[in-house]
């Protein structure tokens, strides 16, 4: 069995567009011990001259889908790795992968809730693994996803989120669109701030566990805001993606 520190060759089994700039890749892993929702993989690209780069990508799929795992990648125009994945990688290609990684930014039903998930942009990816797992597991604590996107076309997993939130015991989903709102938009239309966090937190109550993921600046705002709103820091788990998307 491969340990999380060993690199293995995954085969790209499917490629799917999520938005005009975001694409999902199904990786079939020859040797996979299973993952927990919230974990990530490291991906390594090596050029012919031996130069190599590594990047982390959260696992989007639920553990029930193993040994396939989905990653969902936003194309950063001046980036090194994400444009390669978008413009070059096709079904059947092989990619070097290490994982699953991370024992802390994970949620499984025994951890309980209520759950507040807060995402900016591609930060929704590991939270989606939690929501997908929650939909197939028990118990299902009260859950709200607060999700910030620039515009309506940039909402990743839009249809699936709508379907999930419409199901019995489905999560609440609150969108905020920071730059472009469609006509008649009734959701939030600004960057996530403390009053917004207070509104989504209030119905969940003071026992809430929070997971915040996305660009570093957004995660910082969310974590600080939730502490000021009275959540103990040890119940707030964060995953900073770096400068992307800001």
């Amino acid at each position: 069995m491969a340990r999380p520190l060993d690199w293995q060759l995954a085969t790209v089994a499917a490629v799917r567009d999520e938005t005009p700039t975001v694409r999902s890749f199904t990786l079939r892993l020859p040797d996979w011990a299973g993952h927990r929702p919230g974990q990530h993989v490291d991906l390594r690209l090596t050029a012919e001259d031996g130069y190599s780069v590594e990047r982390s990508y959260s696992i989007a799929s639920e553990p029930e889908r193993g040994p396939d795992v989905d990653i969902t990648v936003e194309r950063i125009p001046d980036g090194e790795v994400s444009p390669f994945l978008h413009d070059v990688v096709v079904v059947g290609d092989r990619l070097e992968v290490r994982g699953p990684i991370g024992g802390y930014f994970v949620w499984e039903p025994p951890l309980g809730g209520p759950l507040l998930l807060v995402a900016g942009g591609s930060g929704v990816v590991p939270l989606m693994a939690m929501l997908r797992h929650r939909a197939r597991a028990m118990p299902r604590p009260p859950t709200t996803l607060l999700y910030s996107s620039r515009g309506p076309d940039e909402i990743i997993y839009r249809d699936e989120l709508e379907a999930l939130s419409g199901a019995a015991d489905g999560p609440g989903v609150a969108h905020t669109l920071t730059r472009r709102q469609p006509p008649g938009w009734t959701g939030y239309a600004r960057r996530i701030d403390e009053p917004m966090l207070a509104e989504v937190l209030e119905p969940l109550g003071s026992e809430t566990r929070a997971y915040a993921c996305g660009p570093t600046a957004l995660v910082e705002t969310v974590a600080n805001g939730l502490v000021r709103l009275g959540l103990p820091p040890e119940r707030i788990r964060t995953e900073r993606f770096g400068p992307t998307g800001t």
Binding site: P4, L5, H40, V41, G99, I101, G102, T216, E239, G242
Partner: protein, 97 residues
């Protein structure tokens, strides 16, 4: 001058990641996923979960700092001969409770 410095510091803040993000590299250095392990910062005494350390990538190697006092607790350098781990800033690192 100060404007540039502030801009650079703001950019540096954007580059901060969580200890969790370095989990793969740490696993290669320690032989196990240590992201949920705890250790004590030798600079200020705070006990932190590795996943909650502050990670700075991009310099020569990866530096993990204490989230409370910002002291360097773990440093990993990738050298031609392998990974070099300096964990002098972290005491009693282990799976613990």
């Amino acid at each position: 001058m100060t404007g540039d410095r502030e801009k650079r510091m703001a950019m540096d803040e954007q580059l901060v990641l969580d200890g969790n993000a370095a989990g793969g590299l740490l696993a290669a250095a320690y032989g196990a996923d240590v992201t949920s392990w705890r250790g004590r910062c030798v600079h200020c005494g705070t006990i932190s979960v590795v996943a909650t350390l502050r990670v700075y990538v991009g310099g020569p190697g990866t530096v993990l700092r204490c989230p409370v006092c910002a002291g360097v607790v773990i440093r990993i350098a990738e050298t031609p001969t392998g990974l070099r781990l300096d964990e002098r800033g972290m005491a009693e690192l282990g799976p613990g409770r």
